[in-house]
């Protein structure tokens, strides 16, 4: 549903923001925004489900890698 999608979107942005490295952080923020906006008028339910599933998997990866990036941040 709509609020689930927005919830997922917010979570993706939140976790993308956690990256220490500027390049990773900006890349994931940009990709998240682009991907969601690209498909905002998607009407085919099965396609929507497929995209949401992909986004959920990405969220897992992003949140894990963001946490890892904080653990091994180099002192500079």
């Amino acid at each position: 549903s709509k609020s689930d999608v927005l919830h997922l979107y917010r979570n993706l942005l939140r976790n993308s923001k956690k990256f220490c490295n500027y390049n990773f952080r900006e890349y994931f923020l940009r990709r998240t925004k682009e991907d969601f906006k690209c498909h905002k008028n998607e009407s085919d339910p099965s396609k929507v489900q497929q995209l949401l599933e992909k986004a959920r998997q990405d969220l897992v990866v992003i949140s894990r890698q963001a946490t890892l990036s904080q653990m091994y941040a180099a002192d500079r």
Partner: protein
């Protein structure tokens, strides 16, 4: 053992009092503790919220007002609304929970939420 437990001799006692008239004789001042919960003044919140909205990508500055609705008046979509609420989080160094974030749909609601948030900076 007794020797170890004894308090070391200090050059001056641990507490001491200052004569009343010696303390800040002329000025009155306000003390603000860190725990006092500093709500930001509404005027300042309003200005900063408006500047965040005006600087948001794709917003027509001339349409921004205190009563503007993000989607109806400013032509943003629901994804932009999520982003703009996150921009408020960055601006005021707070975290807005999802349930609250969903309710913020107008500039006015954003101002009242931030103004009533004790940790907003």
């Amino acid at each position: 053992m007794r020797l170890l437990l004894r308090r070391p001799q200090l050059a001056r006692p641990l507490t001491f009092s200052v004569p009343v008239n010696a303390r800040f004789p002329h000025q009155s001042f306000t003390v603000r503790a860190f725990s006092s919960g500093g709500f930001l003044p509404k005027q300042e919140v309003q200005e900063r919220v408006l500047s965040v909205v005006k600087n948001f990508e794709g917003v027509d500055v001339s349409k921004v007002s205190e009563t503007a609705h993000f989607m109806n008046d400013l032509g943003l979509d629901s994804l932009d609304t999520v982003e703009i609420v996150m921009a408020f989080e960055d601006e005021f160094a707070i975290e807005i929970p999802d349930a609250e974030a969903e309710k913020i749909q107008t500039v006015e609601q954003a101002i009242s939420y931030v103004a009533s948030h004790p940790q907003a900076k």
